[in-house]
Symmetry: C2
Subunit: 482 residues, 2 copies
Amino acid sequence: MTPASPNRDRPLAALLVPDLLELLEEAPEAIASQTEELHPADLADICEAFPEAQLAPFLAALPRDRAADVLEYLDEEVRVTLLEELTAREAASLVGAMTPDDRADILEELDEDVADEVLAELTPEARRETEQLLEYDPYSAGGLMTTEFVSVAESTTVEAALASVRAMARAGRKEAMNTVYTVDDGGRLRGVLSLRELLAAPEGARLSDVAWTDIVTVLPTAAQEEVAQLTSNYDLVSIPVVDDSRRLIGVVTVDDVIDVIQEEQTEDVQKLGGMEAIEEPYLTAGFFTVLGKRAGWLSILFVGEMFTASAIQRFEGELAKAIVLTLFIPLIIASGGNSGSQATSLIIRAMALGEVTLRDWWRVASREIPSGLTLGALLGAIGFVRIVAWQWMHDAGWRIGGLALGTDYGTYHVRLALTIWIALIGVVTFGSTVGSMLPFLLRRFGFDPASASAPLVATLVDVTGLVIYFSAAALILGGALL
Amino acid sequence: MTPASPNRDRPLAALLVPDLLELLEEAPEAIASQTEELHPADLADICEAFPEAQLAPFLAALPRDRAADVLEYLDEEVRVTLLEELTAREAASLVGAMTPDDRADILEELDEDVADEVLAELTPEARRETEQLLEYDPYSAGGLMTTEFVSVAESTTVEAALASVRAMARAGRKEAMNTVYTVDDGGRLRGVLSLRELLAAPEGARLSDVAWTDIVTVLPTAAQEEVAQLTSNYDLVSIPVVDDSRRLIGVVTVDDVIDVIQEEQTEDVQKLGGMEAIEEPYLTAGFFTVLGKRAGWLSILFVGEMFTASAIQRFEGELAKAIVLTLFIPLIIASGGNSGSQATSLIIRAMALGEVTLRDWWRVASREIPSGLTLGALLGAIGFVRIVAWQWMHDAGWRIGGLALGTDYGTYHVRLALTIWIALIGVVTFGSTVGSMLPFLLRRFGFDPASASAPLVATLVDVTGLVIYFSAAALILGGALL
């Protein structure tokens, strides 16, 4: 799926695959120059459309740095297949040309044995760098960071700093180069300035005079969500990672942060839908993988929902006397589930954005309970009117053509309508409360609040909803229908 | 909610508010230097903790550019109150110091009359720039872009380009400065290179020799989702906006893209929960605002769910004969809703990421129907075993203490269990199909697919689910219980 730039009429891949395959056969030496203007993401899309056997020769026809860029944008599955086909030396040559963080990410995807072989073929420096990165949890700042960044002594002059940035850029180093970090003699982070600010700085100044010293930093163990939240709150393009003694050990760049935000959101939406998160895209994930992620929760919810059968059974006597009560069972429990689903999605999202924290539970509850009461009263009013109106149409004998309008709910229809109203106030309030409090409970006990899915809330609300309904019925219809 | 950097022990705001208020009273001229190292996002958090009356004097004590930076990070509500209190001239002086895109965004928040007065006080150039930006849909590339960017003629030499970037940076221009765009004589976009690449370029080269020419661009009318998707796919830090003749008219920067991604996600999660999206944070949004966004959908769903009452009524005769069927109504319809909720969240997310487009509907359906059949068969098996097992425990007279285990489902309990099994296969398959196809239908007819919320899918599935259940019952229990 390439979202083509709007100036293109058809996907690049369709356009170029046949030409490039022909070129690969007849004049592979021309491939580098013919494709040099393409964005590596586009070239990766084109490669994914190649027959599998042509992929390795094609990448071999590109300059090594370029091939490494393309490799980075390939689909994980294609990349793994490719790297496992190459010799360890060939693979090492490719991944050796990548930035350290991408290199570590890619080795993480491979079989451990294959990864070890590739590691052994890297230069000692690259191997050491990569092994260090591989030690961090891939979902932490350490797992996201690159170790290629620009740091200079804070006593450096602006000119000297610019010259050293220029030298590094010419040496082909790539990442985190829009920001310059200043460090003291012990390598501890002291200041930060953007390349733009470095250019704007007065000649002759020292970096310590012009760099910012209020720096947002993270520890390598910081969760990736925290990195994403800081980047977004402070509008950063990169965030420095420091160790306990504030020594600069890496930098997380904004492109990786965007990937994190997208992944976290995918996870949240899928969990909110009542399933485990799947890592691959929907259409390329295996059928049974997706099925497995759905079956677990679906079965748990099913077993939970079985208690509704027991709840109804307790009231079988009442139901036998007043079968009309059965009609409104789905309506009443669904309303509790729906209001709970609204509440849970509000709170989960507010937690993900850091707008609501554990301490706010009471503020949330004191909004949700009155919300539930109001919404329940509203729905109850609609239900009340509907029952009374249909009864009235029935009694008045309204018809359209041969079709009788209205419904006969019996002698006690006003009491029935009142039962529905009261039950809805109770059920909707209960739903809103459970839906809003469940994310707090889950977070409090160390689970992901997004697991408070709409289906889970609905299941929790259904059993209690039935009890509320039948209790309201016993109260209001007792002595009459019951 | 400031996520404090990990090196801080308590929130900055709590630390500094009393000191700064004291300083404001006693030595306001010292405020600028005392706060100059703080990130404007932090300073904004501190300002939000001030008594309302102190906010304007405090900002007045800061240098104008700095005050403008802080203004940009303030909560929308605080900012609007502040700007509406200032004179138009004061407000114009503040927003005049902002980047054009932020200025336009902020004027959009104000009352139209106030905004017009502020506009009238801007310099003619700033006014023209702002009015142009205000004409774009705020949710389009045009509404997101800034008009401050660096573009140079492609015939410029590397040195001359660097000198002009330096001059612009020294003149205090801020945004989109990490990327240099090259244009031809007609102002049409020709190339792009990062500041890093400009620094790395060989001396004496012309920009046309070193700039990239395969450029990802958008039209000003492009939806913000498209901008976000391109930025994320191509790992961009900025994306140029061009008009129909490819003239460069603006640039969208990655910090605004991250905000878009977060907003879109908030919208999706809230819609997925079955309500309209709210724009403000949950805890600061008005009680009745949130209530209004919930009440509409909740009422629609309630009215939709009323059809379940009619559906059950059609089978009242059967229910009167076999009241045991009532027990499983919630279980069966909830299972359809849950599988539908899973399917809809999978598809909505895949659509948001561009993994699935309209054309893929059949590929999706051909995965979801077998998924539904499999999951339905699984749940049905659990249901079958449960009924048969409880009956067996009842028949065997199992007890724990005084409590009888098991349940008597009557003579036809195997047929009943079979009914549940068959009904679940039908209902879960129907749920998965509706849940996965509804987002396609909505998108096809120009609605947001995220409106295919879990509650909406459940409501659609409930009525049909009941019909499937009672039909299965008629088929399997007909002649026996019915």
